[in-house]
Symmetry: C2
Subunit: 213 residues, 2 copies
DNA sequence: CAACTTAAAACGAACGTTCCTTCTTGACAA
DNA sequence: TTGTCAAGAAGGAACGTTCGTTTTAAGTTG
């Protein structure tokens, strides 16, 4: 096989990445051997090492892809106009996240949430990945903070709390729910949306310093 | 050294566990070699293998400890009487979680949140740990569900949403914030408490089927 | 035929673990 | 109180295995 088409090269690369993602979702990055990946991809070592310089590059490629998908989901949700209320915003980013690579399953459950958790676990080890994640996180935080500011300026949300704190809280809700999916299997997005909606109906303590009756 | 006191044996065991926890928080379970642990514990292989049958047992011991601490934090928060409102409930469990093993730091930041994420990443690989986690999660979910029911019955929260959904949402918020700490370093608990408090001030969509003005 | 992909065997390094030795300790006899 | 001894904890080199990777040869296509 010589001078194959670019499409073929791309397909091979994707085939390897998909096989690796499956193995990684099953066993984690470092408990997965290259030979596991080779077997899953039904390819030989020579073939795989033509596309990736080694295991670390394979891990980095998948982590980047996963983090990129998550960030894209957050960004897309933030671009909705007009900005939906918090419960819908959170639900839409979660739905979009869980829709990525839906066909890639391990034991019948989606592999993607597990890959997200695996990616998190890899961050402390890799400064470059950490920088990418940090950049994406900061950007999402800022975008969501602006949306929260909108809530507050339009009077839909009390204004005595830093928008950034609310943004971080909403992000925590989404990522926490992704973790739940990774650990306990899939669940409808409605759970988080409704749960948030219920919380939104609870009367909170008044702002500190406010006049008491 | 022969027939040393039980206290000494316990101290050695803890010394090994602490060293391993530090290494694991730094590099993850499987990228940490036994020799890394030996060096960190300042002990020889013979010593460590007298207390643990192997690396897997070391990992299992630490994961169990970490999950146990997290579960204890959730349980303690749920035992508060009378049950605090959601923002305070969430803040108290988070505070309690982050207070565990506070002195165990890597690069100056607490190791515990990282260990939590590492534990999550290990779950798909180990059915026994998964069962332990599942049991703890279900129990916390049920306990928090009962609290939410209390909110609803006392009229502090709209009652048209399943208590379990709210419980899962609050758990997601806490775990998501733990993940943030693991990835981006420590942050005050107040962020999550205030963020939740702000969300609680947002008027939500009325229940489906409710009469429209 | 030329160019290049794939297969497969094999390599060195690093891993987890074991094994044997050395050293320490507490118990006990004198 | 002191000296001796057995028990067993710790040390550390060495083992076999497995890993990621490289190399070499065969195969395939334009």
């Amino acid at each position: 096989m010589a001078r194959v088409s670019q499409a073929h090269l791309d397909a091979r690369r994707r085939q390897i990445l998909d096989a690796a993602a499956l193995c990684f979702a099953r066993n984690g990055f470092h408990a997965t051997s290259m030979q596991d990946v080779l077997k899953e991809a039904d390819l030989s070592a020579g073939a795989v090492y033509r596309y990736f310089s080694g295991k670390e590059e394979l891990i980095a490629a998948i982590v980047s892809e996963v983090l990129g998908e998550v960030r894209a989901a957050f960004d897309e949700a933030a671009r909705q106009s007009p900005p939906p209320p918090p419960d819908l915003l959170v639900a839409s980013v979660l739905g979009r996240t869980l829709a990525t690579r839906e066909s890639l399953t391990v034991d019948g459950v989606p592999a993607f949430p597990r890959l997200v958790v695996q990616a998190w676990s890899e961050i402390p080890r890799n400064a470059q990945l950490a920088a990418v994640l940090r950049e994406g996180y900061d950007s999402v935080r800022a975008a969501w903070g602006r949306i929260v500011e909108g809530y507050q300026k339009s009077g839909r949300m009390r204004a005595d709390i830093a928008p950034d704190h609310v943004a971080r809280t909403m992000i925590a809700a989404v990522t926490g729910f992704i973790a739940q999916q990774a650990l306990f299997g899939p669940a409808p997005v409605d759970i988080l949306r409704d749960g948030l909606r219920a919380l939104m109906s609870v009367p909170a303590e008044p702002p500190a310093g406010s006049q008491l009756g």
